[in-house]
């Protein structure tokens, strides 16, 4: 499987705080890779490092064979990385349609824009019904659909999702994960940070486990589901709740 994104010995700092410590990830084309870990272990920093909001102090981020760690966020979006941000982060006083337009911000408006809109509508018929509604008035689940649609509008090659299940009702969580799988079947590579390890491992091909900024475990999702330390630390407690 050809590689799409690689972290090579990445270190990041916030001032004196050393967040990511010699981190290595590899994400192949067409994979769903999940990043697991507790609070403040560096998951969100990983996402910010991919998007260029945080720059690594040492190490390299390679996307499609090109080192991108010094590129602007806009340049990365143009190259094909799109985010689904934590807590969705739609533009609350813009309409659903305008939010989708913002997803396609770095692209020239052409016929493929409408194609992509149609694709989003076919994945999320609800979104089409709400096009002219101000996005701040949508329910959490609907907002997540728009957030994923917005990422698709960038026509990306890699979608980075930060906690796609956060704050959603269990019913919606299941729907969102089904959609993620569907998008992946259509060829999209997905890198996903997720607290809900159980759900994440049920759809991911592979996963990394991050602990205080270090990768402590990695492997196929099936392997990790069997791993006793994972079962105890991430799966067990979540199955109870």
């Amino acid at each position: 499987m050809p590689e799409l994104l690689r972290f090579q010995d990445v270190n990041t700092h916030y001032g004196d705080l050393h967040v990511l410590k010699d981190v290595n990830y590899t994400i192949g084309q067409g994979e769903i890779v999940s990043l697991l870990g507790g609070n403040a272990c560096g998951k969100s920093t990983t996402m910010k490092t991919i998007m260029g909001v945080v720059r690594p102090t040492t190490g390299s981020v390679i996307f499609d064979g090109v080192a991108i760690e010094t590129m602007s966020t806009a340049e990365r979006v143009k190259r094909g990385i799109a985010p689904v941000l934590e807590a969705r982060r739609l533009f609350p006083r813009m309409t659903v349609y305008e939010n989708l337009e913002m997803g396609a911000y770095t692209r020239k408006r052409g016929p493929d824009f409408n194609q992509d809109l149609e694709r989003v509508y076919s994945l999320f018929p609800r979104v089409k019904e709400r096009l002219n509604q101000v996005s701040g008035t949508l329910s959490g689940g609907e907002q997540q659909m728009v957030a994923i649609g917005r990422a698709l509008m960038a026509r990306p090659r890699l979608i980075c999702m930060d906690e796609p299940s956060m704050g959603l009702s269990p019913l919606f969580v299941e729907q969102v994960f089904e959609i993620i799988q569907e998008i992946n079947r259509q060829g999209m590579t997905i890198f996903m940070v997720e607290q809900n390890a159980n759900m994440a491992l049920s759809i991911a091909h592979r996963a990394y486990v991050l602990q205080t900024g270090k990768v402590v475990l990695s492997g196929s999702a099936a392997e990790l589901r069997r791993d006793p330390s994972i079962r105890e630390a991430y799966l067990g407690e979540l199955q109870v709740t």
Binding site: V53, T73, P83, F91
Partner: protein, 309 residues
């Protein structure tokens, strides 16, 4: 004059002042919406804009009120004056942003705001030292056409001011609502980090906000000169403070709010001057500012701001 004619006359005056304040208030609101920065340099961009307008009109051979034009030449001269004034004032805003504010972009606290006060004084003193302290007679080629409405008088200059202001505000509204850059501006104002992640180059958005705001301030400066027939290095403070009050009254960061606030402040000024006393104008206007800040800090059209935690 009967009471209703007085009321009509002061409505005409107030709408003219209000149009000018609204143009100026939009600049505060555009920059605040994106940077959460109160740009006090804006006061004197308005003042410099008024001088740019004066020089442009003089370069076209119009001195004082001696040259009177009509028809197409008048429209042409006004369009050129407006265009040059807005372009150069907008450019001034961009230079201010690049030189004095961008280096402070990531500095927390009031450093950027205090810098804008410093820039304001620099502009003020540049004009004072180069042009002098005396008021300048403003070139005005408008013919003395006026219409009597009862005892009230509507002059051509007021109509011109309304037309210019309404067109500029409509243009801004369409730009902000419909254009790609306008949408990027709104997105950046609502969530700068998310906008950046969509590929919006936030520095460019900021430049455009400064350009547009300053260009509108320049147009306001030109209107000031055409309305009062003079300009001077000191006009920025009073007009700037009143326009700032207008922006806060409407809800700072809110574009239609700035327009509404400008019109209200203009009407308060003219009505207050007529029915109370001009000495009390500033007392009334700034009392409104205080009352708004106490009872409705988000302004008439502003959203109730959520606590940022």
């Amino acid at each position: 004059m009967t009471f209703s004619d007085l009321l009509l006359q002061q409505t005409i005056n107030g709408l003219s002042l209000g149009a000018m304040y609204a143009l100026l208030a939009l600049g505060f609101t555009l920059v605040y919406g994106i940077l959460e920065l109160i740009n006090f340099a804006h006061f004197n961009v308005f003042m410099v804009g008024s001088f740019i307008g004066m020089w442009t009109l003089q370069l076209m051979g119009i001195n004082g009120q001696a040259v009177v034009m009509t028809g197409l030449p008048l429209i042409g001269v006004m369009l050129v004056a407006l265009f040059v004034t807005m372009l150069l004032s907008g450019g001034l805003g961009v230079v201010i942003e690049r030189l004095s504010l961008r280096p402070l972009r990531n500095v927390k606290g009031p450093a950027a705001m205090i810098t804008t006060i410093g820039v304001s004084y620099i502009l003020f003193n540049i004009i004072l030292l180069t042009v002098g302290a005396d008021s300048k007679n403003y070139p005005n080629p408008l013919p003395p056409i006026q219409w009597a409405l009862g005892d009230a008088v509507l002059r051509l200059r007021e109509v011109l001011i309304w037309v210019i202001s309404v067109l500029l505000m409509l243009g801004l509204h369409v730009f902000v609502q419909r254009s790609k850059m306008g949408k990027a501006m709104r997105a950046t104002a609502q969530d700068p980090e998310a906008a950046r992640m969509m590929g919006v180059e936030v520095d460019r958005v900021i430049i455009i906000a400064f350009f547009l705001g300053s260009a509108l301030a320049g147009a306001g400066g030109l209107i000031f000169g055409l309305y009062y027939n003079f300009t001077s290095f000191i006009i920025g403070f009073t007009a700037g403070l009143r326009a700032f009050t207008a922006a806060v009254l409407g809800g700072i960061g809110n574009v239609p709010g700035a327009m509404l606030g400008g019109v209200i402040i203009g009407l308060v000024e003219s009505m207050g001057g007529q029915f109370i006393a001009t000495e009390w104008t500033d007392v009334i206007i700034f009392s409104i500012l205080v009352l708004v800040l106490v009872f409705r800090p988000s302004g008439l059209m502003g959203r109730v701001a959520p606590n940022k935690s």
